[in-house]
Symmetry: C2
């Protein structure tokens, strides 16, 4: 993967991950999918607020949604996590072994 051509999805992915509440949402969804009302209750935030952040996560392709009756279930959309993980991993390939210079820190 060339880092010179940075996909807009990369930046928006990291942006989606930059909010504490959104990280909490992802944490809750790690093991199982949940509907919005479950998340609302678990996080103690308003539905409207949650809806905004779920939209950010979904547009960054970190979440997918599935409707079942009147409930909307959200779950982790793994591929984009892998892409972001690999993006960060690229930095290891070109940098000296950790820690770089320990002599004069």
């Amino acid at each position: 993967m060339s880092l010179a051509t940075i996909s807009p999805l990369i930046a928006s992915g990291f942006h989606a991950l930059s909010e504490p509440l959104r990280l909490q949402i992802l944490d809750l969804l790690r093991s199982k999918e949940l509907c919005v009302c479950d998340l609302c209750e678990a996080l103690g935030v308003s539905q409207s607020k949650l809806s905004f952040h779920l939209k950010v996560l979904k547009e960054a392709r970190l979440l997918r949604s599935r409707q079942e009756g009147r409930w909307m279930y959200y779950s982790i959309d793994l591929p984009q996590f892998v892409i972001l993980e690999q993006y960060l991993g690229e930095f290891r390939r070109f940098s000296p072994i950790v820690p770089a210079r320990s002599c004069d820190d």
Copy 2:
């Protein structure tokens, strides 16, 4: 690593990574350290603007700086990249194999 207790550094790390210009800066620094004027010239942005973004990256511990005479050299600070990479990797451990459900996409 428990995801329930989210370090502020995690969120600020992802925040620092959420800006296209900051990603470009990191890209330029992947293979070698550079001084601010090198980055200024390579990116075609004002020194003041660059200084602001370098500070964001440094506060997120993605960059380190080293002064040599009147030049300030910036370079990748790898450990935090590894931490963020591992944070993303945790999501793979609990989710089904990629791709999750390929039947009805």
